[in-house]
């Protein structure tokens, strides 16, 4: 049940939207796509879903292409949210579920379950245009998962939601993952991916910059972050050998160092200079890696 992308390229005329993308997404995993707008995430998803044909390369799921004969196994939350504004929530979710091959009666009971879960059972008979944007997103999410897909593709699932609803949705996504759904999602917010995915891919201008498991990516990156809070000036550490970047803060300094042993040497250096209130060696954040690889910050 591996979702495999092999040397996938998509060109629109002269413009290359996705360039030689090869990844394998294991069964029952949560896979994150990171990248700025225009990095090629949505185009990749559309190719996975078979909405666009790739110019080169091939995409298979369990050895077969994804097409309309497998559409009942696939769930999709598009980046551009949209539902029929004039239809009632119940009517359209059931309609969309039936188009995914679910019988009506089952769709009705499944819809009740999800509306309860999102604490909005009263929405069933409301028109979508009457709901707030955040609540429309919940309905949209239900539309993507109601038919119990094996493969769920979520394009920017958390954008435009308030923190409470982000948590609610995250919880729902994680529970689906526990039930064995393979989930692919994109985000340009690093911490969502960092928090939820074992595997990820950072895309930049259509090409994968980094991909693999989160732990490996961090290990391979090598560099670590060091946070020091002390009562004496620490500015001199900026020029210390092995320090890549330094940023002074009101309480001390944030350093990026290229190996763990540098931290050890710094500690020996400053331990006699005065009182150290904090000395913290951290794993690099995904944001650090993103900045390093892509060249400019996105958050």
């Amino acid at each position: 049940m591996v979702l495999k992308l092999e040397h996938v390229t998509k060109r629109f005329g002269d413009f290359t939207a996705v360039n030689d993308l090869s990844i394998a997404i294991p069964d029952k995993e949560m896979f994150g796509f990171l990248g700025a707008n225009g990095a090629g995430k949505t185009t990749t998803f559309r190719m996975i879903l078979g909405l666009l044909d790739s110019s080169d390369g091939r995409i298979t799921w369990d050895g077969k292409p994804i097409n309309y004969s497998t559409s009942h196994l696939v769930g999709y939350l598009p980046e551009e949210r949209g539902l029929y504004p004039k239809l009632k929530v119940g009517e359209q979710i059931v309609y969309l579920a039936r188009l995914r091959g679910m019988p009506k009666s089952e769709a009705v009971s499944e819809l009740k379950y999800w509306l309860e879960k999102f604490k909005v059972p009263e929405y069933e008979n409301k028109k979508v245009e009457e709901l707030s944007k955040g609540n429309q997103q919940k309905i949209q999410f239900i539309a993507a998962v109601i038919h119990k897909p094996k493969l769920l593709i979520l394009d920017e699932p958390f954008s435009g939601l308030d923190p409470v609803n982000v948590e609610l949705l995250k919880e729902a996504v994680l529970s689906l993952k526990e039930k064995g759904t393979t989930i692919v999602f994109s985000s340009h917010q690093m911490h969502h991916v960092e928090e939820m995915c074992e595997h990820l891919c950072i895309m930049h201008k259509g090409a994968p910059v980094v991909h693999g498991s989160l732990k490996e990516i961090k290990r391979a990156f090598g560099k670590k972050n060091l946070v020091i809070h002390a009562d004496f000036p620490l500015g001199f550490l900026g020029n210390y050998p092995g320090v890549v970047k330094a940023k002074s803060t009101t309480e001390g300094i944030h350093l990026q160092i290229d190996a763990e042993y540098v931290a050890e040497k710094i500690l020996k250096e400053i331990v006699n200079k005065g009182f150290i209130r904090k000395f913290d060696l951290e794993e690099p954040s995904l944001n650090d890696i993103f900045i390093e690889k892509v060249g400019d910050s996105y958050e």
Binding site: L51, D53, Y68, Y84, G101, P103
Partner: protein, 428 residues
């Protein structure tokens, strides 16, 4: 595969789900119910036209015209003539001067007054005076009445016998005979013209209304962005045709309501109205083949324009742009209708023959020809074949544009987008 054995792999064809969803949803909309009711009312109105006219006539006042007879002899015969010519015109002899008569007209007592006198040759001569001479009917009727009166008087002067007088009045025998075999007689042609005219209207309105309904529907799904979920579930081509058929079913529903209301209403009125309005419009003996052709051309015309509308609708991103996008298509329909209107008078002109083979005009113009003339069967078959072929080509081409078009979101909505949409569906 484990999951293909899930108990609900493919329970109901998705094509039918979309078709019935489209049909039932549109059927429930207020606009559909209102237009249907409105057309029913109009149909009832048209089919009961003579009853309605009668009701109004009974209620309405008769036009009163005063007659100032200076001769003292002409009033009685004129009144007799006029009562045969126009029942709604009542003449009254006026005793008084011209000034008094003018005053009576100004006060609204009479619509107008006629001054009758003799000329030098002792023949009647008259002047009609009224507040306004806009209502020419009264004047024309009076003139006709006076003319008859004059002829009668003149004839009696040269002392013609009643038989001679009869000969003088008898209209000339003048018949039209078409030499072409199977050609319709003049009477048949007039009847066919009425029916064809009405059915042309139905085709014209239905094509414009339902084609733009489809374009709207597609554009709504696209602009509300629900399209992307839809096309990840069901292929755009399947969706397009399910939608076209769903709306087509809707149009047939409306047509069926309309035809049955019209049919029963006419049938109810027919016995009392023989020789009147309906005979003139050819409803008395409706030809089955004309109706059958009307249904065929209605359906084909609908498919042609619906396919066109669906792919045009798939190119716009905002609902506001739909009208602009389908305007060229609407103009084609209007052009077809105009040509057909011209063709009602000259159904066998070469121009009509040629245009009847142009697929965008065939539904109306070929129908006009089969309805009005007895054209060889191969001609209508040829026209229908060209039309059907065009529909197939348009459907294949339209489906490709639709597939790319629904994924395109941008500001522009020109015909360049057709090329862009086609490019999207290509591999390169």
């Amino acid at each position: 595969m484990i999951f293909l054995s899930r108990k609900w792999a493919i329970p109901m064809n998705k094509f039918w789900i979309i078709l019935s969803h489209t049909y039932l949803n549109k059927l429930k909309t207020k606009s559909f119910i209102i237009t249907t009711l409105l057309t029913v009312v109009i149909t009832l109105g048209l089919t009961n036209m003579s009853n309605i006219i009668e009701v109004f006539d009974k209620g309405g006042d008769k036009e009163k015209v005063a007659v100032l007879d200076e001769t003292g002899q002409l009033y009685a015969p004129l009144k007799e003539q006029m009562s045969a010519l126009n029942k709604n015109l009542s003449l009254k002899e006026f005793d008084g001067t011209e000034k008094e008569a003018e005053k009576a007209v100004e006060e609204g007592e009479y619509t107008g007054f006629v001054q009758l006198r003799y000329d030098e040759e002792q023949l009647p001569e008259a002047t009609y005076k009224a507040m306004s001479v806009a209502d020419s009917n009264i004047f024309t009727d009076l003139q006709a009445g006076l003319q008859q009166l004059k002829t009668m008087l003149a004839a009696s002067k040269i002392s013609l016998t009643p038989e001679q007088l009869q000969q003088l009045y008898e209209p000339v025998t003048f018949d039209k005979v078409a030499l072409e075999e199977n050609a319709k007689t003049e009477e048949e042609l007039n009847q066919a013209r009425g029916l064809v005219y009405v059915l042309l209207f139905v085709i014209y309105f239905a094509v414009i209304m339902y084609a733009s309904m489809i374009a709207m529907e597609v554009a709504t799904e696209k602009s509300s962005r629900v399209m992307e979920i839809l096309i990840s579930s069901v292929s755009p081509i399947k969706q397009m045709f399910a939608k076209i058929l769903g709306i087509g079913l809707l149009s047939l529903t409306q047509l069926a309501v309309l035809l049955s209301v019209g049919y029963f209403s006419i049938k109810r009125n027919l016995s009392s109205l023989e020789g009147g309005f309906f005979d003139a419009f050819g409803f008395g003996n409706v030809s089955i083949s004309t109706i059958a052709y009307a249904v065929i051309f209605f359906i084909l015309g609908y498919f042609l324009y619906a396919t066109l509308a669906a792919f045009l609708g798939s190119l716009v991103s905002r609902i506001e742009d739909v009208q602009q996008m389908i305007t060229p298509m609407t103009l084609l329909v209007v052009a077809g209708f105009m040509i057909a209107m011209f063709g009602l008078g000259q159904p066998d002109s070469p121009f009509i023959v040629i245009t009847s083979y142009i697929p965008f005009f065939t539904p109306m113009i070929m129908f006009l020809r089969v309805g009005m003339l007895n054209i060889p069967i191969w001609e209508s078959v040829l026209g229908i074949s060209i039309l059907a072929g065009t529909i197939v080509i348009l459907a294949v081409f339209g489906a490709r544009v639709y597939r790319g078009g629904v994924l395109m979101y941008g500001k522009s909505n020109s015909f360049k987008d057709i090329k862009k949409a086609l490019q999207l569906t290509k591999k390169e």
